[in-house]
Assembly symmetry: C2
Homo-oligomer: 417 residues x 2
């Protein structure tokens, strides 16, 4: 087998992740590596933690990445606090709610679910009522549900869970860095972010944060592995409730990310470089400015799509600003549309999962991909491709509407909680 050096086509990536990576992040990844305990590297780890705290808008001590793709963050947080038989409530409003159920079940939780129609979100009071009824140890919920393009308000649920002494774990993979995720203000106990979406860092890390309430549960289950544990740690009796996974054991991971620098794994150096640069660019832009930019280009996209004659899917009040779902016009083959967009225009958009596959197309406005050229490119290409598929749009109207929006005085909307 004679494999040639890597050569890839350049794409305009307008999916809900992975999205285009900022060239400055790509450049950071080509920096020579450092040893994991080199002071120059542990300084970088500390910078990453500090910037993650700002990203999550939290005073939590613990904010660090899990070395794995986004769902590794979900699994790390959940498996570190779930003991077999624990009650977990998961309100499901899309595919990634099911993923939370899946993970909780695998770790032996007694999972209670509640569902609302896909395309909608829950009234927070309904969840709160269920919490009071079931009295779970944990509520696990998605914030930005990419599969349906909805964003679940959490500002009332958090304080209510706190009052009931329930741990609230939130999957903010699709919203972090693109929409407001106010961890402390909303009383979220543990939160998982994603890199390959609004942070515009490649997939492969899952930034998480958690507070002292979560830490307390974790430390009760702590067992440092033999071969590096101190004598005292080895003596600490049996651990019938120990965390099932070694890789995702937050009790050991937080020691690795603390001055103790307990050896666990070998930190993924180049991905840390990428995350550091990605976070730096987020903070340089400003959190609220960044949320505003995401909404701004989302608005242009929606105006363009509607002017073209397409229907935006789902409850508009709770639309996730980083994902726009289009109802596929009757008789049109969505997968064929996506294929032609990719092959003829080098533009990638997404389909969806399960019941929504074939029903909607999803366009992401995330991170570095979320910029004017890309919005205009996708509107123009989509119109042409839909015409080739037998759909008759209002020709030219999509781009005109977007240009009208872009040429109007800038009024960047401020994101609400």
């Amino acid at each position: 087998m004679n494999v040639k050096p890597l050569q890839v086509p350049l794409r305009t990536i307008m999916t809900p992740g992975p999205v285009e990576v900022d060239p400055r992040v790509l450049q950071a990844m080509s920096t020579p590596i450092l040893g994991q305990f080199d002071p120059a590297f542990t300084d970088i780890m500390n910078e990453v933690m500090e910037m993650l705290r700002q990203l999550f808008q939290t005073e939590n001590q613990w904010a660090f990445p899990i070395d794995g793709t986004s769902r590794s963050g979900n699994e790390a947080l959940l498996c570190s606090i779930i003991e077999p038989g624990d009650k977990v409530l998961v309100p499901v409003f899309g595919r990634f709610g099911h993923l939370l159920v899946e993970i909780c079940e695998r770790y032996g939780a007694e999972v209670h679910t509640m569902e609302c129609p896909w395309g909608e979100v829950f009234n927070q009071q309904d969840i709160i009522n269920k919490v009071i009824e079931i009295q779970p140890k944990i509520v696990a919920i998605v914030h930005g549900e990419t599969s349906t393009g909805r964003m679940q308000p959490l500002n009332l649920l958090g304080p209510a869970c706190r009052k009931q002494d329930v741990l609230l774990i939130v999957d903010a993979v699709a919203s972090i860095g693109g929409a407001n995720v106010a961890v402390d203000e909303w009383c979220l106990d543990g939160v998982i972010g994603g890199t390959q979406k609004c942070l515009s860092v490649p997939a492969g890390m899952a930034p998480i944060t958690y507070n002292e309430r979560v830490e307390k549960v974790i430390l009760q289950r702590k067992k440092v592995e033999y071969g590096i544990a101190t004598a005292e740690e080895l003596e600490k009796g049996s651990y019938t409730n120990r965390i099932r996974s070694n890789y995702f054991d937050l009790a050991m991971l937080q020691d690795y990310w603390s001055p103790r620098r307990l050896n666990h794994h070998t930190e993924a150096t180049s991905m840390i470089y990428a995350l550091r640069e990605g976070l730096r660019l987020v903070l340089e832009e400003g959190l609220y400015e960044r949320f505003g930019r995401h909404s701004y280009h989302e608005n242009a996209l929606v105006k363009g799509l509607e002017a073209m004659g397409l229907t935006i899917y789902g409850d508009a009040t709770h639309k996730l600003p980083t994902v726009t779902c289009i109802e596929i016009p009757t008789g049109i083959d969505g997968d064929s549309v996506r294929k032609m967009l990719l092959e003829q225009f080098g533009i990638e958009i997404a389909s969806s999962f399960g019941p929504l596959h074939g029903k909607i197309l999803r366009i992401g406005t995330m991170g570095f991909s979320c910029r004017k050229e890309n919005i205009l490119a996708v509107l123009s290409a989509l119109e042409a491709v839909l015409i080739r598929h037998g759909f008759e749009p209002n020709r030219g109207a999509g781009l005109q509407a977007a240009l009208d929006f872009y040429e109007a005085p800038v009024c960047i909307p401020v994101q609400e909680g």
Copy 2:
């Protein structure tokens, strides 16, 4: 917090990993990303699989990376085949044997261990006798034990396990790409490699391979997650023996790496680019040529260290060619030696774990770091630093011995199994 763009000191990294990354691999990482289901990307995934088969010297269908650091590969393989109560035999001859015990215990195995003194390896017949006595479902063992610098022969153990219908799982993280790991010839059922050692790719991926014997166990436990499972898959009854981890569920992961492309996680694009380039360079060099190069520079290093007056630690017959352990001379503070090497010379070497911390120093000869300039640099710096610490070496002799070796007619030793 005003964080500056990334700037790191250049190091000569002579630890047993992570080691210096080939500049061509770093360059590949700065390539713009592709969507995970873009045909241009799935082609790259297929190339990676094919090259991994060659690296592992196997005809196995399954050879792909887990998106996590090396120990994620151990956990993925073990948790996908261990059911609570399963008997697992782990022969321990260093820290990473303990890690295997740790992982097996956490997943509910009945773990049996056998130990030999650190610095030695097992007589294979002793392990075989234990296998016959205990009749485990699985034997899990380290091939190259970095903590002690030993390499365990497996060529007899594999066929014996096969005969007893026992699954043999091997941690070859520290040897893969630097020493011979003949998966099919030695009858290894499941093997984990590392990227950040002899492949000279950054940490963050764990290449694994497994055969049909392992796959059979995994498929009996298969359960595709709700939200993407087909109706038929959802109907397939209860799964009391399902794999505990969602992230490490090889039944789903192999579907992701097959033409089905079942969505599991978002593949870590840039790390796949790095792995692809790293594997390409390994195969371009040639597997056996590469093993020879590792032994060649290891020889030069050992000759230099001995000429300097230092004692090489452990049973020389089973020395791991990619790690050389030095006994720390009496009265010398090993950590202070390492610190001075890093601060004055920018050279990093390693200490060890548990009972060996403070007793030995470890020097890696791995991947891109394993080259003449680095060997000469570490010998020269180590002599100077040891003198500053009160140890009196044979001044100048280390470099002279290494140069003698390098100037002699090249006779690259062929690695034995």
